[in-house]
């Protein structure tokens, strides 16, 4: 079985995000970029399935500018067999990403697609669901445990009420939650080996994907700073204050 893994590059989770003064976006110049943590978990899961003999090949996919290749190399160093780089200089919204992935699914015919449940930059949490719908295959999102059977997957999901276990027919889309696994450290010799692993480059424009970027961003602004608090004497005063602000 072949597994396709979405592998997005985002601003590192340790970076304190700053909004550009003109409100047109966030500062990315000189800012540390890293693999989306959920995607690292997705890749780790795919690699473990390969190591168990369930999967035979793991392919990482990235959509983005030319300098994305170093990032994909990182996925190859972690252990993916090969990478596909869908090149575009534009920002990509979930629907476009899902349509791109669908094209790759049709081309590659994977038995399983594993994506992060969301990317920590825009936190959309949509691409996996959209891909499943477009592909017309089952989805199991927010996975915290994955077991692959003959032609089915049992997936434990983290839901508000606790854990829920689904069984889905393969091929399917699985999206990962934080507790699914802990991604491995990359070994130095694997970084060196990744230099010679293949990265296929496809121009997004050449895929014949209808753009799905229907969301228009008007303005970015940092969250307002915390205003000074007020001390209240008792619960009654607290309730009154909340009421006067229209909060209860």
């Amino acid at each position: 079985m072949k597994i396709l893994v979405g592998y997005k590059r985002v601003v590192d989770y340790n970076v304190r995000i700053q909004v550009k003064p003109d409100g047109s976006g966030v500062v990315s110049d000189g800012v540390k970029l890293s693999p989306n943590p959920f995607d690292e978990i997705a890749l780790e899961e795919a690699l473990r399935l390969r190591e168990k003999g369930v999967a035979s090949e793991v392919v990482v996919v990235g959509i983005g500018p030319t300098d994305l290749q170093a990032h994909l190399r990182n996925g190859l160093a972690m252990g993916a067999n090969r990478a596909i780089h869908v090149a575009t200089s534009d920002a990509v919204q979930p629907l476009t990403a899902a349509r791109v992935l669908l094209k790759l699914v049709q081309k590659e015919q994977p038995g399983l697609v594993i994506l992060g449940k969301q990317a920590i930059d825009d936190d959309c949490n949509q691409t996996g669901q959209m891909l499943a719908a477009l592909w017309d295959r089952p989805q199991a999102t927010f996975a915290s445990k994955v077991e692959i059977g003959e032609d089915k997957a049992r997936v434990t999901r983290e839901v508000d009420a606790g854990l829920e276990t689904l069984e889905v027919d393969l091929p399917a889309v699985i999206t990962t939650d934080l507790r699914l696994n802990e991604p491995r450290f990359i070994k130095l010799p694997d970084i060196m080996k990744a230099k010679s692993k293949p990265i296929e480059i496809l121009e997004l424009a050449s895929l014949g994907v209808e753009p799905g970027d229907h969301l228009k961003t008007l303005h970015y602004a940092p969250p307002p700073g915390r205003s000074k608090g007020v001390m209240v004497k008792d619960v009654a005063e607290l309730v009154a204050a909340l009421k006067s602000k229209g909060l209860v």
Binding site: D29, K32, R73, A77, F185, K187, P189, I191, M192, A194
Partner: protein, 596 residues
């Protein structure tokens, strides 16, 4: 807990933008396939290991220290060290720069230097174990016989074994000519090594299956003094030629030292009692062999200084942004808070900028030296190799001497930023200051670095390295002579470079008349040279930032920090110049008896 985030962006700036390091490394033999992408990937993964595995063990390792069990003569490292080491080994890091044929990745020393800075920032004590293994690796690579490399080196490169360097004895550290450990030839061509070594880093521990000691000792017929010292390889467990481990050898740890800093690094008394060993290199040429490894070892300790400065800076900066005390003299800057963060106060800024200015220029200096090292080791152009060696040998005592002395200054400043919280253990800042203290002592004290610089590199070698370096500064100044934006740096730098030459001449003349003048001048000369060298690093950094595609704020920060360095650190050269002019008299006139 103290924080650490590897300064990857500044590392890349120093290596690629300031020093054009990618091109240099690519042009060297075996560097063709080395791309920026690969180097960055290595650095990122080393950063992850340093930040997530090693840094969290720094403070706990310091609190716990190493334990010695007398009954079994064994040493236990602090909790977590074994697991961290296992992860380091599993990741293939011990083989980073070692040749492929012994199982390494053959990456350049320059990449090794950057990785080392991160390991040292994260956990200096822990970093000492691989450091000594690197020393043993060098010794066996450069001087060992092929079978010795097969048997002893490969497991070190693989990380299964570690190495030590056993030089110091109770009665001699600086003056190794006095050493007494003896090696008697045995019938089978091996030797029996007997004697006591002290202060041996990693002499005994629980991190590896075997420990390979490189030991300096005397053969029975050896001449006295430095010309009668040979080097031996002595394993903790005997090893058959096919690599299988045998019985314990006649070497054991007698005790470990209780000390001021690097408490998680085991500093051992090692007793050799007819221990089986093998000669490495030529008889009586052990000290000469050590000399060939000195550049790498001393650069490594300079990097320890740099690593400490970087981490101390990060932590004091974070504190200064959060700690609210007093109002800015020009009026409140954060009126909605009860006081301003202390980063508004001019002298807190001095404490911070001193650390920042030295860390960033120090990084350029270290990488410049590392690139010279790679050119020296790898270039196929003999003239380029020799030039690199001359310049490198000249810069090494500056790197080691200056960066370790300034690590003491900077960690002191970092503590000061935290006020009372800097002095107590909880915040971790006092540990940096304690850990920094050893760096001016081992691998040749500051005094020895200074004598090496002035006595050997400048006078004995007729200033060849100084000449190459001054030419480099001269070429840089000429290249940017018309750049108005750089005038404020090029002007003073050019003058200082000229004065450097003059001072060297004057000390030379004085020392020719009275040899004590050399010793009296050496340390001031080291500092003077060091501050001018860092000024050059800063001027280059501003030029590179201006020319590059970096953001406006990045360029602004580089320029402002350079300006601080030129206006508030570089004037120290004036004091050192004055002390150099004063000569030896005031040091030597007081009769020894009158010291009190």
């Amino acid at each position: 807990m103290t924080r650490y985030a590897a300064p990857l962006d500044d590392m890349r700036f120093a290596l690629y933008d300031v020093l054009d390091g990618e091109r240099t490394l690519k042009q060297l033999p075996r560097g063709e396939s080395l791309s920026r992408e690969t180097i960055d990937a290595v650095l990122e993964e080393a950063a992850r290991l340093s930040e997530q595995v090693l840094a969290p063990l720094n403070q706990s390792g310091d609190a716990e220290g190493c334990h010695f069990d007398k009954a079994t003569a064994s040493v236990t490292t602090p909790k977590g060290f074994k697991e961290a080491n296992a992860q380091f080994v599993a990741g293939g890091w011990p083989g980073l720069t070692a040749p492929e044929r012994y199982g390494g990745q053959d990456l350049p020393e320059t990449v090794g230097a950057l990785v080392k800075e991160m390991l040292d920032s994260a956990n200096l004590s822990w970093g000492n174990y691989p450091l000594l293994s690197a020393g043993a690796t060098e010794a066996l690579l450069q001087h060992g016989e092929e079978w010795q490399r097969e048997v002893f080196l490969k497991p070190i490169v693989a990380g299964r074994w570690t190495g030590t360097m056993c030089l110091t004895e109770p009665h001699c550290g600086t003056d190794l000519g006095l050493l007494k450990t003896r090696a008697e030839p045995a019938a089978d061509g091996s030797y029996r090594v007997s004697g006591t070594k002290i202060f041996i880093t990693g002499g005994e521990h629980d991190l590896s299956e075997n420990i390979v000691h490189l030991v300096l000792a005397r053969l029975p017929d050896a001449p006295t003094g430095t010309k009668g010292i040979s080097m031996f390889v002595v394993p903790k467990f005997k090893v058959a030629r096919d690599g299988t481990l045998g019985a314990r050898n006649g070497v054991a740890c007698g005790s470990i030292e209780h000390k001021m800093g690097i408490k998680a690094s085991a500093t051992c008394v090692m007793n050799f009692d007819a221990a089986e060993g093998y000669l490495v290199g030529q008889p009586n040429k052990g000290l000469t062999a050590m000399f060939t490894m000195m550049n790498a070892a001393r650069l490594a300790v300079g990097i320890q200084g740099l690593g400490l400065i970087e981490r101390a800076y990060q932590n004091s900066l974070a504190y200064a942004r959060e700690r609210l005390q007093m109002r800015a003299l020009s009026g409140p800057k954060f009126p909605h808070q009860p006081a301003d963060p202390i980063i508004v106060h001019p002298d807190v800024r001095r404490l911070l900028l001193t650390q920042k200015a030295i860390a960033e220029a120090g990084r350029v200096l270290v990488l410049h030296a590392a690139l010279l090292g790679d050119t020296h080791l790898r270039s196929d152009d003999a003239a380029a190799r020799e030039r690199a060696e001359q310049e490198l040998s000249f810069l090494i005592p500056i790197c080691k001497g200056l960066l370790t002395e300034l690590a003491n200054e900077c960690t002191y400043h970092a503590m000061q930023v935290l006020g009372g919280h800097g002095y107590i253990a909880e915040w971790g800042l006092e540990q940096f200051a304690r850990d920094a203290r050893i760096t001016t002592i081992y691998e040749g004290t500051t005094q020895i670095q200074a004598l090496d610089l002035l006595g050997r590199k400048v006078f004995q070698l007729q200033g060849a390295g100084l000449q190459v370096f001054l030419e480099r500064i001269g070429a840089f100044c000429r290249q940017h002579a018309d750049a108005a934006a750089l005038a404020e740096f090029i002007g003073p730098l050019g003058k200082l470079a000229q004065q450097w030459g003059e001072i060297t001449q004057r000390v030379g003349v004085a020392a020719a008349g009275n040899p004590e003048e050399l010793g009296a001048a050496a340390v001031d000369y080291l500092f003077y040279s060091g501050y001018v060298t860092l000024a050059f690093c800063w001027a280059r950094s501003v030029a590179a930032a201006d020319a590059g595609a970096r953001s406006g704020t990045f360029k602004q920060a580089k320029r402002a920090t350079a300006r601080f360095y030129f206006q508030r650190i570089l004037p120290r050269t004036e004091a050192h110049a004055a002390m150099l002019r004063a000569g030896a008299a005031s040091l030597m006139d007081l009769p020894e008896a009158l010291f009190g």
